[in-house]
Structures are given as C-alpha cells and as structure tokens.
C-alpha cells in the first residue's frame, strides 16, 4: 500500500500573531512602536501620493513650504480622498468642499463655513508624525505617548571623504520586484537562515554571490539586546577564515553585509516594511563611493537580470524571491519542520513572540530609544577576515 500520499492532506496555518501587521494585530502593534521608513524623500512632493504601510492607506505629500506629511486619506468632512486634494503652502485642500489640513491634521480652513469655520479647531484630520533622515521619510504610527526617538546608525555617520549615502526602495536583497508580493516575515526571517546561501545561491543556482559563499559555514547564533545575530565561520582554504556577522534587529531591520564580501563593518542596512499582510518593500540605506553601489548588488543569473528571465530560467536559476514567494501569500508556518539549519529562524520567531507579549502588557519592546543622547545605534554586522591578511579573496583568485 502506498504511504505518505497527498490524499486527504490537511494543511497547517500561518503564525498570524507574528505575520500579520494591521492595527490591533499582535506584531502589528510591535511594529507600530518603532519609526518606519515609508518613502524616498524625493517621493514626497506637492502631488499627493498613496502610501500603504502596515495595512493602512495614507496620503503622502510635501507642502509648498517643504514640510512632508502623512494624513489619513478620508477627509473628515464627507470622506472624499485627499489623494485628489491640492497641496498648498501650509497643507492640503480637499477637492470636495475645500477643507484645508496642515501636516498635523489641523483644519486651517472650511471655505463654505462662516468665518472659514467657526468650529474648525474642534476637528482633526488623522495624521502621523513624520521625519526625514538618510534620504527617507519615516513615520511613527504607534501610541503618541510612547513615541521613541528616531535612531541613527553609526555606519551612516561621519562618512569618509568620497563616500555618500545611497538610498534604495527597489527591493535590494529581495531577489525580485521592487514591491514584493508575499508576507514580509518570509523575507525577514530568511536573514537568520545562513544555510540557504551555499545551497540556493551556489550549488543549486550557480554562484550568485562569490565562491566563498558556497562554503557551508559553521554558525554561532546568539540573542542580542535588540535582535538575533548569526556569526558564520567559513574556512577559505588559504589560511584565512571569513567571519560573517548578520543580524536581525527589531522590529524589521536586516543587517546583511554585502554578499560580495566587502571587508569590515557593513555599509548598508535594510528595513523590511510591510505594506500589508501580503506585500512589502525593502528600504535600504548604504554608504559607498559609487552611487550605483546598491543597484549593482542585484544578482544576475547567468548574466541576465531577474526581470528578464524566462519562466524556464526562473525554474533553473531560482533565488530568494522564488523561494520566499512560493512559500505562499503567508507561509503555513505550522507545517514547517524546523531542524538543524533553522536555529536562527526559530530564535527570531521566539523573540517576536516575546515582543508581542511585552507590548500587549503595556511594556516597551526591545531596542526603543527614548533619550536623544542614546539615539546612535551601533551596528556589528560585517565581513571580517581572520588570518593571512594578504591572501586574495577566492573571487579574486578565480578572476585571475
């Protein structure tokens, strides 16, 4: 008799508590306790734009005086969308009856009402606090009384001569389109899965990064005060060892040094920002001399860009996108068989569960900064070579 057939298969369920991001969901409330990047600064203009973040639709604009704003789209007067509004010096005017709201939702004018609105100071268009930093628009969508300081990161401070900050919202590290169409957690927890690298990105699909990354590492995992870290040791066969440190930092940061093995502290950080439960974007900030550094990080597949692959080539040369997207709109986590290579993934999920409980009980999740004096965050991720300092990278040797 055949055994193990798919007949009668009962499928499992997602870990919704960790995967969902909307208002009131356990991890959605964790995410809302931190500042989130939502757009490149140049995308905040005098033309209103729709922005979807954490399951909420918002309208992004910049007043003619230069102040960025994120408002709830539905005008509090009669519900017309501010997407069709007109941006003015001080705010945005609803197209329907002309009510004007400033970046904090204060109603400045109700033109059809006596004296431009005798009671306009008694209403407020829902809004969120916004800041600009590192070329990004950041929003805080959590309880106002718990608003933290927007952190800064040491790797982006005090840039050496010739280096510049580079920002990208096109899905660096996602291996697919700019807007990734599956649950964000499938991407984020992959950061703590270093064992997929020598399989997916080397043995299966050819060296998508460098020959060093094809070596199966020995991995040390540890919790940090702000997340989970993996330290991957690879013997390079020439007397050197590569110590590659990657981190997830809560609630959704990916600290992944260049897989092309630039040496030293990582020069880039990514934020995995859910638009909703089944779509997300990756905002990446980097420092480098080359303004095209992030664009050049995109892997090619036998010389072709991901978007140019045929269906057959996607099958023959899969990458992160093909794996994570095919896990489903929201992966059925209860069907996972976590094993030797999944220590990091299990640790991430466990630390996420802890944060949901802390937040539900009114506490502060890890890594929040409330004192501006503590706003500078140290980043430990990087590629560190040990031994035989003058030995070339395997990649260099191959090219030679």
């Amino acid at each position: 008799m055949d055994t193990g057939t798919a007949y009668g298969l009962r499928q499992g369920a997602p870990l919704y508590d960790l995967a969902q991001v909307g208002p009131g969901t356990p991890y959605g409330e964790v995410l809302r306790r931190y500042w989130q990047p939502v757009a490149l600064v140049e995308n905040a203009t005098t033309r209103p734009a729709r922005v979807r973040v954490l399951g909420e639709e918002l309208i992004l604009f910049r007043t003619r005086k230069g102040v960025p704003a994120l408002l709830h789209p539905r005008c509090i007067h009669r519900g017309a969308s501010l997407f069709y509004g007109g941006v003015e010096d001080e705010g945005i005017r609803c197209c329907y009856h002309g009510w004007v709201f400033d970046p904090e939702g204060v109603c400045l004018e109700q033109p059809c009402e006596p004296e431009l609105g005798l009671h306009r100071d008694r209403v407020r268009q829902p809004w969120y606090p916004v800041q600009e930093q590192y070329g990004l628009i950041w929003v805080y969508m959590g309880p106002p009384e718990k608003k933290p300081v927007l952190p800064r990161y040491d790797t982006f401070e005090d840039l050496p001569d010739g280096e510049q900050l580079i920002v990208n919202d096109a899905g660096v590290g996602g291996g697919g389109p700019a807007e990734l169409d599956f649950n964000w957690l499938q991407h984020w927890e992959n950061v703590m899965d270093p064992f997929h690298v020598p399989i997916l990105h080397a043995r299966f699909s050819g060296n998508q990064f460098t020959p060093e990354m094809a070596v199966i590492p020995e991995v040390s995992y540890e919790y940090t005060p702000t997340g989970v870290r993996s330290i991957q040791m690879r013997g390079l066969g020439d007397g050197r060892r590569l110590r590659r440190v990657t981190e997830v930092m809560f609630p959704n940061l990916r600290v992944v040094p260049s897989p092309k093995l630039a040496s030293g502290q990582t020069n880039m950080i990514g934020w995995v920002v859910p638009e909703d439960d089944t779509n997300f974007r990756i905002f990446t900030v980097a420092r480098d001399e080359d303004p095209a550094f992030l664009a050049k990080l995109r892997s090619t597949h036998e010389g072709k860009a991901w978007k140019d692959l045929t269906d057959a080539e996607h099958q023959r040369l899969p990458g992160d996108y093909e794996c994570q997207k095919s896990q489903g709109p929201i992966s059925l986590h209860s069907d996972d068989h976590l094993t030797t290579t999944d220590q990091g993934v299990a640790m991430v999920r466990r630390m996420m569960a802890k944060q949901t409980k802390v937040v539900a009980q009114g506490g502060d999740p890890v890594g929040l900064v409330f004192d501006p004096a503590d706003a500078l965050v140290r980043i430990d991720g990087g590629n560190y070579f040990e031994g035989a300092p003058d030995a070339p990278l395997l990649a260099d040797a191959v090219e030679d």
Binding site: L15, F195, V219, H337, T340, T341, Q343, R350, A353, K354
Partner: protein
C-alpha cells in the same frame, strides 16, 4: 504520513513533555545558579546557553517517573545538543518539533496517556485554557525547571490518573 511522526510513547508511564527555552535554557537574568554550556549537534551550528545547575538531577528524577518527550523548536537537535549538559542517556528521547501553541500536538501524541507539559510562557501565543487530561506547568523563565516541584507534579498527575 506527510508530517513528521514522533516515535510513539512506550505507554507504560505518564509523559513529561518538556520545552527547551525557558525550561532548561535560561535566556534572561537567572535567579538560580546556572552554568554556560557550548551546545551543538552534528557540528553545523553552536550556541552558548545558560543551563540551571539543578536541571540534570531534576530531569534524571523526572525520567525515572515519566517518559520524557521534548517538544520544542530545537527539533531533533534537542537531545543531542543537551546530552552532555544534562547528562542524558545516549538513546534520544522522542521529540515533537513544535514551537508555539503545542497543546494539540501533545494531546495527539499522548494517545490518552496522562501527561504533564512543562514549558515557558512564551510558547502560548493563545491561552491553552483549562485541561483535564493533563497538567500544564508554566515555569518562571528566570529559573526554568529548577523551580518545578516534582512531588507536586506527581500529585497533580495522579489526580488525572484517578
């Protein structure tokens, strides 16, 4: 069979289902003496973990009275990784590879045997509620299994058997 099926229980004694994190590993500041152990299994990964000094003796006594089953995200690594730190027998105990909301998996495995499930509070994404077919023990994460009163446990399990 498409999902992993654990080795079935022997059936001659109640089950003691143990989590790892918060039970034999203290992740925060410990309130009991602990020793750091460098644990691994088959060499691909390592973790440095704090194990309560009282854990080996408690688990040895537990194993005399119950059939011990691991239920954790450590999967098949659990027994091998902690064998030295906890003085475990060479033959691995059964394991249930489950990280959160483990009650249904434990009941399915127990097949009517009385059971006690010792774990940390983080694993309950949803309240398991009151149970009558087993005993749920939630440890204080600062002391883990070192805070478990085995005699009280026995009495509670005897209550199920009756």
């Amino acid at each position: 069979m498409t999902r992993y099926e654990a080795r079935p229980p022997r059936g001659d004694r109640p089950l003691a289902v143990l989590g790892i994190s918060d039970v034999v590993v203290i992740e925060g500041t410990p309130s009991v003496p602990v020793t750091m152990h460098h644990v691994s299994a088959w060499g691909r990964w390592v973790r440095d973990v704090a194990v309560p000094d009282a854990a080996p003796d408690l688990i040895r006594v537990l194993a005399q009275r119950y059939e011990v089953v691991w239920a954790s995200e450590w999967g098949h690594n659990a027994h091998t990784a902690f064998a030295e730190a906890l003085g475990l027998p060479a033959e691995p105990w059964p394991f249930l590879p489950v990280q959160f909301d483990k009650l249904a998996v434990i009941r399915d495995y127990a097949r009517g045997l009385p059971w006690v499930w010792i774990d940390g509070p983080v694993v309950d994404l949803h309240d398991p509620g009151e149970v009558e077919d087993g005993v749920i023990v939630r440890v204080d994460p600062s002391c883990g299994i070192a805070g478990v009163d085995l005699d009280a446990l026995d009495a509670a399990v005897r209550g199920i058997v009756r």
